[in-house]
Symmetry: D3
Subunit: 229 residues, 6 copies
């Protein structure tokens, strides 16, 4: 696993603001708290957590067209932000959040593989800071601690026949299999997405990748708690 750094309070306006670095991958994760919830939840007493993802045009080796200028988020962006939001909701009790919305923005300023797993790992820390903000807020209407679990994400793959943890861009591009694993600090699976890039993979390879992922997740959860302490 590459060196992981998590810096809280990276920017000054957001209720939670984290710079997360997995090696050369750098993502700014902010959490914004708003009173109220989307229409489909109004009056339910339940809160909402959602996420948006973006990349600066030159976060990558060659420039990607700016999605705002093209007038549309790409398919990959949509897929990733849905994954981030879904994962964060899975570690929460939204009823306890009360009718508040927390929006997580994950913006990649430098990409070197694993931007979605870094985003989730950083977003969780920003989310915790936003929840702390709400706890101190007399008008926030929370009904207890909405955080049920710790949450982290890591990529694993099969590269040159060997299971590998936390692939950088070069490894990821050449990997036979690419798997993103999102787990709680209690060892439960929140999401497993394993894609054969070259050849189909076997049950043994799947098991080996999950084993590796569990170790990585445990380390990440420990680091998150240390940073939040």
């Amino acid at each position: 696993m590459r060196e992981v750094r998590i810096t809280r309070n990276f920017t000054k306006h957001a209720e939670g603001s984290v710079l997360v670095e997995f090696g050369d991958t750098k993502v700014i994760c902010t959490a914004s708290v708003e009173r109220g919830v989307p229409r489909f939840l109004r009056g339910s007493g339940s809160g909402w957590v959602t996420a948006e993802y973006g990349m600066l045009p030159r976060a990558t080796g060659s420039r990607n067209g700016r999605e705002a200028a093209r007038g549309q988020q790409g398919g990959r962006t949509v897929e990733i932000q849905r994954l981030i939001g879904r994962s964060l909701r899975a570690c929460m009790d939204l009823k306890k959040l009360g009718e508040n919305t927390i929006t997580i923005d994950c913006d990649v300023i430098q990409a070197d593989g694993g931007t979605r797993t870094a985003s989730i790992t950083g977003a969780y820390v920003a989310l915790r800071d936003a929840v702390s903000f709400l706890k101190k807020d007399k008008h926030g209407a929370m009904k207890g601690d909405p955080i049920k679990y710790g949450l982290a994400a890591i990529s694993v793959g099969v590269y040159k026949g060997e299971p590998v943890l936390d692939l950088d861009y070069a490894e990821d591009s050449a990997a036979e299999t690419d798997m993103n694993v999102i787990m709680t600090d209690k060892g439960g699976f929140v999401e497993v997405q394993g894609t054969a890039e070259g050849e189909p993979y076997s049950q043994e390879e799947l098991n080996a990748m999950l084993e590796l992922a569990k170790k990585g997740i445990a380390e990440l959860c420990e680091l998150q708690e240390k940073v939040l302490a």
Copy 2:
């Protein structure tokens, strides 16, 4: 597993046209062959397979706004069509396809859970028919059989604590875990996507779901070959 029916030559214009039914879920899968490939492949000698997915507005219990009228495909649609395309490419040798593009359209006319797995299972049959069309075409420029594997997809879940195969809408809505498994006829994994809907799931539950999925996939591959014979 619900009753599965696969009807070839469902409409008359497409090079491959299949109606696939998983119980009350009904999807029209067509395969369209075009000479040439997208720009990023021109001159590479390699072909391309891509997929688009849609639902008729009233395929579901209540009417969904038409995506063409809203001016945008929704996030769920984008996610599904990327999955279909990626899975189909994983069972092919695109080099052997030559510089041809096969576009798979999966249009759900009636939805009752499992539309993405039904789509992939039907799309594979339409793809095979399109490849047969190209084989007979003297100008098609194929360089051998581009089909490397059979391919099918099935959903599994944990429902009331029990692993369940091929969830219908009612089960899917209430399932604790929802997993889509896409495999080859040789038993290799092409894609595994398992999402905790309620609580995180355990390694044991994951294993039980995969075991069930393998059985379902084997049945589906057998049916596909029977229909194609």
Copy 3:
């Protein structure tokens, strides 16, 4: 006139669901009932009927780009769906419908000429089923039977100098004149749209086409009532 088939209850979710076939042209027409009306009618006591039209990408001989993916409905689509909605409203007393909205979706799964006239003819049957649904609904707030007339549509043209009824794609492409006629079962005109494709047409040709259309409409209305009985 080609063989016409009308199949009710074609899909299971919609309040009205019809497969209509004019020869090889096949259209799924569904009617969806919703409480309430668009803003411009709120509080008026009047209901609303509107229509949307679409074609599966491979309903035609070569694949058409999916409108949802292109982010816009084409001009032809817009023109047709406005015609369908306008025609259906012309056979109704919207006051008697109460503040309900019926949305008709016409989706062409196979095209061989005459998709707009088939759509209207099938949509009317789906509309009738939706009205029957509302009649049985205690909360539906209807104020009597909103159906004033039967309604059907047929294309006529001048092809090789002769007036022809219900042109298929080959005839339509080669016709000198193309006319769509929408009439009530009482013989009143709801819409007449006649376009010179090659040379301008004469009053005599117009008369001959209308004469032919009347006969076709009468047959269609009879078939609709038989199917609805």
Copy 4:
């Protein structure tokens, strides 16, 4: 019929520029000549004529949102501009035009009913001026006079039970039937679009409306030629 005025050379840049007034309805019609044709005609030796239609936001009694700001042309706009383009092409021999494109812009600066028929009537005059421009152009590659017919358009309706020619906005809003008739100076029909606004109309009403239209068209064609002389 209201007073009709046609002013050529209304603005200075376009190859044809006409202000057409049908009573208080005022439309600027410009014709722009460009070398080359759309892709589907390249190399065919044939030219192309197309039209776009718009309304200034406050051409009407209450302000309509600007289509450019809403990011989309409305359904009515699309329908009208397709009608204008189709009608103009019907009076031309596009082969003789050579590989040139003439784009007609019809922009309504004040609306009082009949904007589409005024547009077509004015557009024809602008088109003629553009063709004259091309005739004088040594590089224009025309192959003879591409104008086959004179062309004009008029609306007719049934209003308070009587057939009426050239309805203004007040009449149009209250008419039972609204018909747009586009004819050549030789008396051939190019397009007939008759819509029942209230009750279906009869063959007798249809005949009476067409009779009235023919007289109006003849007057308009005479005026056009006088203005062009």
Copy 5:
């Protein structure tokens, strides 16, 4: 300065309607009054003035694609309409306007340089007519005269080394510096925008341009008042 003409009541529907001509540049400016204000002002007691700008496709020497058809307003359009709105608000006391919205539409029907300054100069006159309309309206809820200043705009530039007033298109294209100056009739600056087109400009050139602009503005304000008298 080119000859300037201002024609009130140019079209009949709008509460203010002005044709403004700066030489061959011709712009229709309409002011539309609506009760109510945008959401961010509701309940504030304050009114709102906003502007939209457009060009007919063939207002210019060669045809520009229609923004409504392209589905987006261009950057230049957005920039200009923001400038017009901002300038008009600067000469008003929006509190006195009450909760009314005045929308100014500036549509260029012929362009020959200086369309934005002509637009502002004409828009002010239309705005004054709209305010007069509101004054006479018992339900208009105005709280005194909201007009604080007269307002006009003029372009100046450095062309062949000399400061020039009110550049036409030929001068504008060749100018080294292009400056738009918007001032009140009391000589206060509302907006100054000076852009080096070729080489950077000096303080002396800036001063010379502003001097020239002041004279032009004074003449324009005089003409506006004469026309409004």
Copy 6:
């Protein structure tokens, strides 16, 4: 003037990458070099410089909707990125750049007033690094040094009756006048944009603001050269 910091090589992929900080305003400016130019310059031998601007959603006190998700860049964004691009081109000899395109991306990660002037000041440094990259590139086809001038930008305003340099968000919101001044290191004006926020401003205030701006620009140019040395 607030403390200004300029950090080169802030991210690793771009040919020029700068973090610029004006007090709490922080902008990442990257310069991306691509061979070739937009269509309107092909074959001209001239290069192109263009800019895009964005803000992370939570760069500000309350969250702004993500432009990519809304499907459109806002008017303010468009206005700013046009200003940045225009200013950078004004300090260059594009002929000497050869047929290369440099795209500048300015992404605000934290906003506290003056984001456009910080962007221009940082963008110039990134541009210089990109030009250095091209100088070392044998295939880059530059024809001499394309940089004609140093370039920096600063905001000035009138706040509580006093001219103020480099306004932060609190000052900017309350300022009577807001002016952005962009100048070369030789003291030439590239762009002056002065807007009356409250009352119109006088010639004296204009002069005082420009005087202040000149001092600020001189300091910024000095800092840029120090950083680039």
